[in-house]
């Protein structure tokens, strides 16, 4: 009895008691439905339908129809990410000065909530040859014939801006509002112009947050899926990597190959995120936020 009690006591001193056990159901859920499938997929990718352990990866990198998808996806994801983040910075810096941001942030959260499928259908109607956008362009004689914006590269790009810009903007806004305003005021008093205050004060303080924003925005854009099919040209210019992974799994029923492609997707994401976070530690110059943030 006393031995049991002392064990329990020793465990409690290390923070392990009945309350700690409440974390177990969540840990089991994530282990069973996230970690295990990932490891299973990793193992499965080394057990191809035919050939040696690395046959799936060899197949991916020898078939241009497969390996080109990495380039195609990057060609869509990198410009979309950079555009969204670069546009977000000035807008967030301006909106932070607003007294009431609620209406704008509510409007901007709508496309994120609607999701990519709904945005794809909306853009098909709006950007189509008879949609309001082309009608406006024709009305103001900015173009002679309707501009083709759907079922090609631009359709996917625009859908990534519609859903991606609000995401990067709201994230940037939350980092920008964490920066102490008096730092900028001090800069202004010492005679720094707006541009200098931005490059010398705000940007260095914002850099760590921007690295995270870039990483999250890139990962989302890199896994573009429904809009690449619905709004793009899924047989050609917007045949992104998630499409070939999906086709391998659910059209060819080649789960090992699909797992290999999913692992490669995860690999590219990890490389980019690690690179961005490493860059973040290089430019990080100490804490900038003051309680808020």
């Amino acid at each position: 009895m006393s031995a049991r009690l002392s064990l329990r006591r020793r465990l409690r001193e290390r923070g392990l008691d009945a309350v700690t056990l409440l974390v177990l159901p969540a840990v089991v859920t994530v282990l069973a439905l996230f970690v295990y499938p990932f490891l299973y997929g990793l193992m499965l990718s080394f057990q191809p339908k035919e050939g040696g352990a690395l046959a799936n990866y060899a197949k991916f990198f020898s078939d241009p129809f497969l390996y080109n998808t990495i380039g195609i996806t990057l060609w869509i994801a990198i410009p979309a990410t950079l555009l969204n983040v670069v546009l977000s910075i000035p807008v967030a810096l301006r909106v932070r000065l607003m007294r009431s941001q609620r209406l704008l942030t509510t409007i901007l959260v709508i496309p994120i909530t609607l999701g990519t499928v709904m945005v794809a259908e909306g853009l098909l109607t709006y950007l189509g040859p008879r949609g309001w956008l082309n009608r406006t362009l024709l009305f103001f004689a900015l173009t002679d014939s309707p501009v083709r914006l759907v079922h090609n590269y631009w359709g996917v790009m625009l859908s990534l801006v519609i859903t991606g810009f609000p995401f990067t903007f709201l994230l940037t806004l939350s980092y920008v509002t964490g920066i102490d305003k008096s730092l900028e005021q001090a800069g202004a008093m010492l005679g720094a112009r707006a541009r200098q205050r931005f490059t010398r004060i705000l940007l260095p303080l914002l850099a760590p947050g921007l690295a995270i924003t870039l990483a999250l925005a890139f990962v989302q854009a890199f896994t573009v899926f429904p809009s690449a099919i619905l709004l793009g040209a899924p047989a050609g210019p917007t045949r992104v990597i998630s499409i070939v992974a999906y086709q391998a799994a659910f059209e060819q029923y080649d789960y090992p190959l699909a797992s290999a492609i999913a692992m490669l997707m995860a690999g590219v994401q990890v490389v980019i995120i690690v690179a961005l976070l490493a860059a973040r530690t290089l430019v990080f110059r100490g804490p900038a936020s003051t309680g808020k943030g």
Binding site: P25, T29, P37, M118, E121, G122, I162, T223, L230, Q269
Partner: protein, 274 residues
Amino acid sequence: MRRSLGERLWAIAVWALVGFFVINLLAMIGSVLVNSFATHWFNTWLPAGYTGQWYSLAWNEFGLPDILLVTVEVVGAVVVLSGLIGVPAAYAMARRNFPGKQAVMLLFLLPLLVPPITYGIPLATVLYRAHLAGTINGVILANLVPTVPFVILIMIPFVEQIDPRVEAAARVFGAGIGRLFVQVLVPLLTPGILAALLLVLVRTVAMFELTFLTSGPTSQTLVVALYYAVFAAGVRPGQSVDAMAVVYMITTLVWLLIALRFVNPSQIVTRAKQ
């Protein structure tokens, strides 16, 4: 502080950009709404006439009653389960320091950082092997992956706000963990739980990738059915696809508006204080 001409022009340019974005966004939603009521709409600004027939067509042809029922079942189960699993875990994470807590935290962060399509394909493979994919249960399980960690991360700050002495007092009066939760913590945490579960609801209604990869013909939610309707555009009149899109928009936006009474819009993106 007087602003120079350049600064003023810059401000105007930034607001023009925001205005341009918002106008295009509203026009995109508006054109879906208008088209769903259009008799026919060709080379004019507005349709030739208006009708509600596309809604009854969509209701019958797409089997919307069944789809809505599945959506309610999936979303309801995901909300309840992620609350039951997530809230106690958040309590433990907020109140206890135990060895490996950092690793557990990382475990909860990963499903929120990795996009669903990346882990959805291996997850669907495992669920197919377990004969769960294609069923409502499989869809529910898949949707728990992002929602349980999401609830935990939202709830941790809410738990931290509660004075630990309140819990200590309840324990002194002899309450066990069960009674502590039911009679003390849940009433105190109600605003946080409502916020977290409403956000889970909105996210699950709109969760396309995981549901798409794990659902079968009888376990499609509204967003997956909408995808198939858009994918097969041309088979049916565009207006009936847009009618379905409007039904989907109303379903998500109503819950979004309710959720926004409890949370800040930016919380939907930033997930939780990190």
